[in-house]
Structures are given as structure tokens and as C-alpha cells.
């Protein structure tokens, strides 16, 4: 049978980043909804509160993004290894992982990917996180910075195509992040127990099951 082995999967800076980021993004989604639809989402008292909270949360996300970036790029120096899919991942890994999520998972087979600190994510996660962390989050943050400085940065905004295009971009990217959030939280419950992935994100330690023959987890 399987025996438990603990591995230190999520270092402290990553955990701090992640929960700051999660809190920030959820706040941004909700306040953003109020800012765009003030008649329908009067959650934070008045409009001004929503804006101040939104701007603050944006600031928190930008800071936590820097923690994340700084840690992976300069301290752990594992950003490329962890986040960039390898040729192998692209050629067969993604398919293999998709097959697991959409077919063999239901049959009770085992996850073909076993996380280790050096190879934390399965190929699908890698691609998704890469898109989120290197495209979506930076773009939303940049457009947000422009939007909080419309007057001084007007020249730049016009280079982007104008305030409306920038606003549309910010809005649609934000919707994408919100969509990611649903999928992300759901996928995180697909561990061998529903909370198996949440625990390491909180404590840092993952319970890896050393199993050699039995095809499925508990």
C-alpha cells in the first residue's frame, strides 16, 4: 500500500504571494463589478468606496506579483523550469493530462503527474499558469495603471488606441481572470482528497503518496 511522504512544495514567499493575490483578485472582481454596474451591484456603500477599494486591491496585486516574480526569478531561479512547458509537455504532456482530466479521471485512474518542487505543475497547469501569470495579470495591471492615470498618461493611452479600447481590454481581461478563478478553484479540488491541494498552498507541505502498483489514490 501507499505510504505517506511529506514534501515541501510551496515555499513561504509563494504562499504569501498566492493568498494576497487571491484576496486581491477576488476583491477586484467584486468591486470592478460595482464600478461597471453601479445600479446592480451596490455592495460597498457608495461608488467612491468601490473605486478606492478597487485601486487598493490593484496595488496589492501588483505588489504580490512582484513578490512572486522576484522569488521565482531571482531567489529560487526556477521560474523557467516550473512555468514554461517543455517540448515534451507540448507534444504529448498536454494531451496526456487532458485525457486524464476528461476521461481517465472518471474511470478512477491515477493522475499521471506527480508534483515535486522542481516540477510542480502538470503540463496543462503549466500552460494555464503561464498564460495567467505572464499575460493576463501583467496586462490587467498595466491597463489598470493607465486607467488610474488617464490625464498624465494620455499620450500612452492614445497609442493603445484610446480610452475605450483600453477600458474594453481591461474589462475583458478581468472577465477572463474571473473565469479562470472558477476553473482554478475547481481544479484545485481534484487532488486525492478535495483539500489535498489546498493544504500545501497553506502550509507548504504536500502529502505525496508513494504508490507503485495500486492505480488510484484513496
Amino acid at each position: 500500500m501507499a505510504e505517506k511522504k511529506m514534501i515541501y512544495l510551496q515555499p513561504t514567499p509563494v504562499r504569501i504571494w498566492h493568498w494576497l493575490n487571491a484576496l486581491g483578485i477576488v476583491t477586484l472582481c467584486v468591486t470592478g463589478a460595482q464600478i461597471r454596474f453601479p445600479e446592480y451591484v451596490p455592495l460597498f456603500g457608495n461608488y467612491k468606496n468601490a473605486i478606492l477599494l478597487h485601486n487598493t486591491a490593484g496595488f496589492v496585486v501588483a505588489i504580490s506579483f512582484s513578490i512572486w516574480f522576484f522569488y521565482y526569478a531571482f531567489v529560487a531561479r526556477s521560474m523557467g523550469k516550473i512555468y514554461v512547458p517543455t517540448k515534451d509537455d507540448l507534444q504529448s504532456g498536454i494531451l496526456r493530462q487532458a485525457k486524464f482530466y476528461f476521461l481517465t479521471y472518471f474511470l478512477g485512474w491515477e493522475n499521471p503527474h506527480h508534483p515535486s518542487p522542481e516540477d510542480k505543475f502538470n503540463p496543462l497547469q503549466k500552460s494555464a499558469y503561464l498564460a495567467i501569470m505572464f499575460v493576463l495579470v501583467p496586462l490587467v495591471s498595466l491597463s489598470g495603471i493607465l486607467l488610474t492615470n488617464v490625464d498624465p498618461l494620455r499620450g500612452l493611452i492614445i497609442m493603445v488606441g484610446g480610452l475605450k479600447i483600453l477600458m474594453g481590454l481591461h474589462f475583458l481581461l478581468a472577465c477572463s481572470l474571473c473565469a479562470f478563478l472558477f476553473t482554478h478553484i475547481y481544479l484545485a479540488t481534484l487532488g486525492h482528497t478535495p483539500f489535498a491541494h489546498f493544504k500545501p498552498m497553506w502550509t507548504g507541505w504536500e502529502e505525496e503518496l508513494e504508490e507503485h502498483h495500486s492505480p488510484a489514490a484513496h
Binding site: I35, R36, F37, P38, E39, N46, Y47, K48, I51, L52, N55, Y101, F102, Y105, F106, L107, G108, T148, V150, D151, P152, L153, R154, G155, L156, I157, I158, M159, G161, G162, L163, K164, I165, M167, G168, F171, L172, A174, C175, S176, C178, A179, F180, L181, F182, T183, I185, Y186, L187, S214, A216, A217, H218
Partner: protein
Amino acid sequence: MKNASKPRFMWLCILLVLLFPLGALAMDSEECQGCHGDIDSVGEDLYINEAAYGHTAHSGMGCMACHEEVSDEHPDDGASISASSCSDCHEEVETEYMASAHAENATCGDCHNPHTALGLADVSGHDMNQQCSNCHENTDVVESHADWLPQADLHVAKLPCISCHTGSEDYVIILHIIQKESEAAFGDFEISKHQDLQALAGDKKVQSLVDLNSDNFISLAELRTFNRNPDYKSMRLQATMTPKEASHSVKTLDNRWDCSFCHTSGTENMQTSFLALPNDEGTFSRIEVEEGAVLHALTGTPDFYMMGTTRSASLNIIGLLIIIGGTLMPIGHGTLRFLTRKNRKH
């Protein structure tokens, strides 16, 4: 409103001309301007700029309408000349303004020069704010408003003060053509001058730059053509929210604290927009723009967006679809996961 009063004015002038046969009682405006229109003969303080004066509604009345007591001996008699009070003719405005607390701070003449006074539709928001900045220094206003107003610099730069500080109830969107003052990427934009636009229009009227078929109405298609024309790349449309009618109840209204007075899906009038084109004398003429210009997702007014107010419905739908897309995984996968839960029990 202005157009309606023009004919009335002409009659007033004719009446005045009939009542005061030229030269019989006193000098006419032209004579006055012989001296007062010449800065060298009267000096700066007594100079009346003929061009600026000529475009005011007041000019139609003649100098004597307000300076009744000018004698034939003027200026040699040294007699001081009276000037009628604004309230003689603008009773309603006077009553409204005198009831405001601001009446203690400024008189009509502090904000208006009777020799250059123009109507609401003839001036840009910037011109209006010029009147206030004589006493309320712009940097001070930005600083004090920033205490409570997000993006105070933007609000103060783009909105007429009277949009927040008078009891106006209805607003219209006014579009101006602006252009960069220098080639620098962060160069300031200023409202295009008549000469600049005329140079682009060539021998056609300035209006034809945007109003392609010159029907005094700008359709969304015309607006889009203007926005996309690479020849006009240096120009952008800027918009602001101006009271539909000028009110003089100068004060701080409670509901202007509430951002959603403006930032909420627009009232009827917020759908009404005009393009204000500069005339060669520095005033503006308004041309109506088809409804929905500020709401259009990308093209109508690319540089004008009021949060909560001018959101585009089509983008809302795309956004919603994206979010729904994000819930498909939890819902679809979750259902199958539930149905096949036995397979994972060993």
C-alpha cells in the same frame, strides 16, 4: 435658445435705431469704437476689442444701451459715464444668483465682461473654468478636491466647474476636436483652433471634416469615418458633460458628492451629444450628433469613457460569456465527477 433670440434682437436694434436717430442725441457705437476700439488712443484699460465684442449678443444693442449718459462732449467733459446694471435686463439670472451664497463672493462682472460675454453654447468648458480660475486657482482646486474625489485632476481638467457647482438638472455631452500641441509622446492636447481645422478642410467648411454630407447632423458613421481617417491622426475627440442650461445657483450640491449622480447608466440627456466646432472668432457652434455616440464600444468617442455610464452593451455580453465559460468546467466536470464517484472509491 440663442437662435430664437436673434430675431428678437434684430428688432430691438431696429427699435433702438428708430428711437435714437443717429447723431441727434449722442454718438453711435461705431463712433465710440473709433476711440475705444483703438488701444493706442485710449489705452489698455478703456480698450474694447472690436472682434470679441462683435460676437457677443450685447453688441447688437449698441454701446448706448448700457452707457446711456454719454454726452456729445465726451470725453472732453470729463463726466463719468454710468453703466446699466446687469439686472436691468437679466432679472431672472440676477434673482437666481443673488439667492446663492456665492453672491457675496463675486459680482456678475467678476465672472463676465459685458463686452466679451458669451452664451453657454458659444464657449468651451475650459473657457467657462477660466472665469472661475480668476479667484479659484486651478492647482488649489485640484488639491482640495483630491481629498475626496478620485482622479481629481482629470475631473477638474475635463469638466466645467458649473457641472458640479450649479443646480443644473440636465446635461448634454459636448465633443470637441483636440490636437497635440507638440510632437512629444506626452504632449498636451488642446482644443483645435479654427485655423488648424480650416487648413485641413481646405476650401470647404470646417464642419465638412466631420459632417461629411453637410446636413448639420453627425451620424455615427460620419463620426467613425472621422475617427478612422489617418489624415486626422493628430486629432482626437474629447468629450465633456455640460449643463444643458446655465444655472447661476452657484453652490456645492449634496448629490454631487455622490459619484453615481454621473456614474450610472446615463439619463436620457446623457445620450444627447453635440460636436462643438470652433469658429474663426474663437466661439463655438454646436452640431447635433446621433444618439449613442458615447456608448458605442470602440468607435464613437474612442477617448471618452465614463465609468458606469458609457459602458458598452456588446462588451458586457462578451464578458458575461467569458465568465460563463469559466463555470463550464466546474459545472460539467463536477457533474460527471459526481456521477462517476464510485469509480474512485477503492
